[in-house]
Each structure stands twice: as C-alpha cells, then as structure tokens.
C-alpha cells in the first residue's frame, strides 16, 4: 500500500471514516480543530452525519444520543473540552452504549496553552466522570499507530458496549508523517437490536437509561460493568518493548514521551548502557502484570512523562515496591528532548538508584534548576 503524508488530526478523522464512522459531533478547540474541519466536508460527501455542536457539552450529548440510536459515533477534543465531557462520559458508561473519544492533550490545568502534554492521564484513566466505570484508553505514539488504533477501536467498543478513548497529544495532532491508510469499511445497514432506533412495529421497545433508583439494581449494574472490565483487562492489554531482552533497567513512557525516550534509549545503547524501553499502548487497562514481571528481574524503572507523574503512580503500584522507580517529566506543554532523557539514563547507570523519598520529589528538585537554566 502506498504511503502519503498526512497531518495527525486529519489522519485521525479519515481513519474513523474508514472504520465506518456514521456520526461525528465536535467543537473547535486547539490543537485538534483540523479533525472537526476535515469531517465537516468528508462526512457529508459520504452522506453521513456531521454537526458542529454549541459546546463540548453539546457534542458529547449528541454523541450519547447517536450512540443510543445505534450509530458508530465519535467526538474529538482537547483537555479543557475533555473536562466538559466528563458528565457525558459517565452517563454513556452507565447506559452501556459504545462510543469513541479522541483527546488531543494540551498544557494545563485551566486554559493552559495549545502545546503538547500528557496531563489528562489522571482525568481519563483514574477518574473524571463520576461513578464506578473504566474506559479503554489507548495511547499511540505515531500517526501510523494512531490511525491503526482509531481504525480498530470502534469494533472493540462495540464488542464490550463501552467507551474507548484514544489519547494523543498536540504534537501528534499537528505533525505530518508518511502513513498508509486502511481500507474503507462499509457502514452498517442494520441497527443493533438494543438500540433506540424506533420499533417500526417489528420488536419490543428499547429503553436506554443509566438510572437505577434501587441501590441493589445499581449494584447489579456496577457488577456487570466490573465483569466487563475484567474481560477487557484480560483481552485488551497492548504494549511495545524495545531492547528489553538483555536490559538491566527500563525506561517506561507512553505516547510521544515514549517516542522521545526511544531516541534516548537508542543513543544510550550506542554508548553501551544496558537500558530498554517498555511503552504501554493501553494505559487503561494498564499492563500491570508485565510491569510486575519486569520488576522481578530489572534493577529499576525510569518513568518519563509529559506531566507531573501520573502513569508514574501506576508503575509504582504495579511494581509493588520490588525495584526502585525514578521519574523525569516536563509539564505545561514543554516537550522533553532525547538529550535530557539520555542525561538522566547516564546518571542512573553511573550513580545507581535511590530508595528514600518519592521519585516525584527528587525530580521536582532537579526540575527547578533545569527550568532556571533553560
């Protein structure tokens, strides 16, 4: 298949179209607006539904309606918009209908800026919408990987009737890379049997709700959601390993942080440092078992993120204190360079691992100096 140069946001949009996207509702917000703009002409030319909503609040509820109506549906947004969508996501999870969200993360909190970041990890993976639910969150690291992820996530969310989030960052949204686009899937012709698509006199009526006034009924629903989650944990773990076979310690990073870390790891290997990279692609479900197994044989984990250490907590939890964990991150939309990470890798290799205190505190002390000197 031939490769073409595509901008990340537009590639996300086209991948969804080829996956059979039937309805898209979105709102302008940098750095993902190109996805909205692309679909504003692409979907109508295919006779599918597109609408720019009045806000992210409107968009997520339109997606909620379309999902209940049985359509393959998606929205895209960035961090402040994701916050607005949390109510809708909780309702969608509680109603058990499938939908896809693409979050192109930017610097925050608050209005922040439009530069790339990974500060939505906690809100998407550990919380956000109220109640007991877990969305599937996949974090690709290149435009090609993002295309592949978006293309397959629609089938995944329909299999489990759950929420699938593709979490990238502003750099992936904005940059251009040579990619191969997948084949166009046919749009569904038959509505799911559970959907609110009007009975047409052919079936019993469907009611889709997230209300269970009787706590016992709600608990039954919660139990069902948790059992589905356990299935997802069993089946949907995704990660990539680089130079891990003979690694003495591992860098752990997802998305663009993982990609930058890979450059650092390659350079480190060229210097003879026995380091590898473990790159989670599914951050929810988190590859806990893989981290735990690695903790049996490695000297330490070095977590690299574009936030204040959010996946760091998951690595600490999963490694269960077996080995020391060190952290390096940049915040606010600042992207780390390979040489910063290489510097830290060299230090770990030369000076060894610290055990007292929390890795975040050690890193913050370091970062103060770095920020002053830059």
């Amino acid at each position: 298949m031939s490769r073409e140069l595509w901008k990340g946001n537009e590639a996300i949009a086209e991948a969804a179209v080829r996956a059979g996207l039937q309805a898209y509702f979105g709102y302008p917000i940098t750095p993902q607006t190109e996805a909205l703009e692309y679909l504003s002409w692409r979907l109508p030319e295919l006779g599918r539904a597109f609408l720019q909503a009045e806000s992210e609040l409107g968009a997520i509820n339109m997606v909620y309606g379309a999902a209940c109506a049985g359509a393959r549906t998606m929205t895209t947004t960035s961090s402040p918009g994701t916050s607005l969508m949390m109510e809708g996501l909780s309702y969608i999870a509680g109603t058990e209908v499938p939908m896809v969200l693409v979050d192109v993360v930017r610097g925050g909190p608050g209005l922040g800026n439009i530069a790339p970041a990974q500060g939505d990890y906690n809100q998407i993976v550990h919380g956000g919408g109220h109640g007991d639910y877990h969305p599937i969150v996949l974090a690709p690291a290149s435009i090609q990987e993002t295309i592949n992820t978006v293309y397959e996530i629609f089938d995944i969310v329909e299999k489990y009737r759950t929420i699938g989030i593709v979490m990238v960052d502003g750099s992936i949204g904005q940059m251009m890379e040579p990619v191969a686009l997948p084949a166009m899937k046919e749009v569904r012709k038959v509505w799911p049997s559970w959907a609110a698509s009007a009975t047409e006199g052919k079936r019993e009526r469907n009611v889709l709700t997230s209300i269970y006034l009787d706590p016992k009924q709600e608990e039954i629903t919660n139990l069902r959601l948790m059992k589905t989650w356990q299935e997802i944990e069993k089946n949907e773990i995704r990660y990539k390993e680089y130079f891990m076979e003979d690694a003495k310690f591992a860098v752990v990073g997802f998305g663009s942080a993982g990609r930058v870390a890979l450059s650092a790891v390659r350079a480190a290997r060229a210097e003879g440092i026995p380091v590898g990279l473990f790159r989670p692609i599914s951050v929810s479900p988190f590859p806990k078992k893989q981290i735990f197994d690695l903790a049996q044989r490695l000297e330490g984990f070095f977590v690299v993120e574009m936030n204040s250490g959010m996946m760091l907590d998951d690595v600490l939890l999963a490694s269960q204190g077996r080995i020391p964990v060190e952290f390096y991150g940049r915040m606010g939309g600042v992207m780390p360079f390979p040489d910063e990470i290489l510097r830290e890798i060299r230090l770990l290799h030369a000076d060894g691992w610290k055990n007292e205190g929390h890795p975040r505190d050690r890193w913050l002390a370091k970062l103060e100096t770095i920020v002053k000197e830059e």
Partner: protein, 260 residues
C-alpha cells in the same frame, strides 16, 4: 343508580394506546399526567408510535420512559435537546421528541435548547412549566414568579437579588430555525383541549420537516405549591397566565392553515 351496559355504547374517551396502562409516580392532580396523555393521544391519532424515539430529561418526568410505549432514552439534566439532535441526525426519518421541565430546559439546559432551536433541529419539545424545581422539592426555577415563595426563596423571589423569570417561548421564537412555538395551559378542560391541538400542530411540524417545534405547557405542581389540584389550577390561572401569556409565538407559514 341504573348501571348501563357499555357494550351497546359508543366510546367517547379512553386510555391512549401509546401510553402504557400502569400507575405513574406523579403526584395526584399533577398535570404531567395530562401532558403525557395528550402526547400519547396525538401520537396515536397520527399513527406515529412505531416511528417514535423519546428523550426523557431529569425532573419529575425522569421516568417518562416507563409510561410511553415506544423507544426511549434518558438524558442528563438539560441535555435532552443535544441527545435528540444526535438521534435525529442518525435517524432523520424518525419522530424524535423530548419531554422537559422548566429547571431542566431553561436553567441548566439553556445552551442546548437554544442551539437546537437555532439549528432548526426537526424535533418536538414538550416543555412543562410549573414555576419550580418539582422533583427536588420545590426550589426556585428560572420560571418562578417574582414574590413566589419556594424552598430556596423562602421570603418570595426577590428580583433585586434573583432577577426575573425567563419567558422561554418568546425567547426561542426569535430564532429563525424555530418552526412552531406555542404556549398553552393545562389548568382547565378548555385549555387542555387547546393544548392538544397545539401538540398536534407541533408534531405535524416535525413530520413536515418545518424546523424546531415546541409547546410550552403551563402546569400545576400541587405538592410544591401546597395547594389541592383544583386550587392549583386556579393559582396558575390567576398568577402564571399574566406573566406567561398563552399564544402562538412562531408559526411556520405551512402550518397556518392547519385546523385540528
């Protein structure tokens, strides 16, 4: 009293088919029940049941989906017009309606309803205005009248501090996308009959693709107004009608000659 043999008689009025034959949770005398019945009657008469998808909102009518015999979905507070938009864009040939109260539609949901109307979304909104938040125990709503006592305006709505009520029908009628907006009342038999005609016109607007349609129904809330049902009707007539005048605020030309 002589008992009559109904087998030999003509049925003048009966329980509509689109309304499920079950006891509702609404308070005795609450006109939600009247509104439900009228909507079901219109859907029966227009033979729309198999094409209908309803969107329930959050308020006393949160369980509306238990009472209508067609597909229904539940929306978060205020978001029903957005959910209805999602449904209608996916199923443009189906009949999509929302059923919303005043707190839901014109407080938290102001953005969603305004834009659905502005877009000319081909949905029908049944808007129940009873001047308070009923489900949560009678708090002040955007439609609470000046001086009206509620649990969150115990001394009466003070316009200096809490401002003035919103007249949703008038406001939404300024939008070009609106095809039919009318305000009626459910406080007595004559007005209930007129309300039904308006509801019929609203659904006709949707069937004919004439844009956004809404019927605002002034309704009683006996429990939170602390009045018996008939007295609540009187209170509505004396207090709400002057502030929320009945009338047709937007009528698409194609609807002007329809008579029901």
């Amino acid at each position: 009293m002589t008992t009559m043999n109904v087998e030999d008689m003509q049925v003048i009025y009966q329980h509509p088919t689109s309304l499920l034959d079950i006891h509702t949770h609404y308070c005795p005398g609450c006109t939600h029940g009247v509104a439900h019945r009228l909507v079901a009657e219109v859907i029966d008469e227009m033979n729309l049941r198999d094409q209908c998808i309803g969107v329930a909102s959050v308020g006393c009518s949160v369980f509306a989906y238990n009472y209508f015999d067609f597909d229904f979905i539940q929306s978060p507070h205020g978001r029903a017009p957005a959910m209805a938009t999602g449904v209608k864009r996916v199923h443009p040939g189906k009949i999509v309606l929302t059923y919303q109260g005043d707190g839901d539609m014109i407080s938290i949901g102001t953005g969603e309803i305004t834009h659905a109307a502005a877009r000319g979304e081909n949905i029908t909104v049944i808007f129940i205005n009873n001047a308070n938040y009923g489900m949560t125990g009678g708090q002040m709503a955007p439609t609470t009248l000046p001086g009206q006592k509620t649990t969150s305006s115990p001394k009466g709505r003070d316009v200096e501090q809490a401002g003035y009520p919103i007249r949703a029908s008038e406001m939404l009628a300024t939008l070009d996308g609106a095809g039919y907006i009318a305000r009626r009342s459910l406080h007595d038999p004559k007005n209930i009959r007129l309300a039904k005609k308006a509801i019929r016109t609203a659904f006709e607007a949707q069937v004919r693709g004439l844009g956004f349609s809404m019927v605002e129904l002034l309704s009683t809330c006996p429990t939170n107004w602390h009045l018996a049902p008939a007295a609540a009707g009187k209170w509505l007539e004396e207090n709400m009608l002057p502030y929320f005048p009945l009338g047709d605020y937007k009528v698409h030309t194609a609807l002007k000659d329809l008579k029901f």
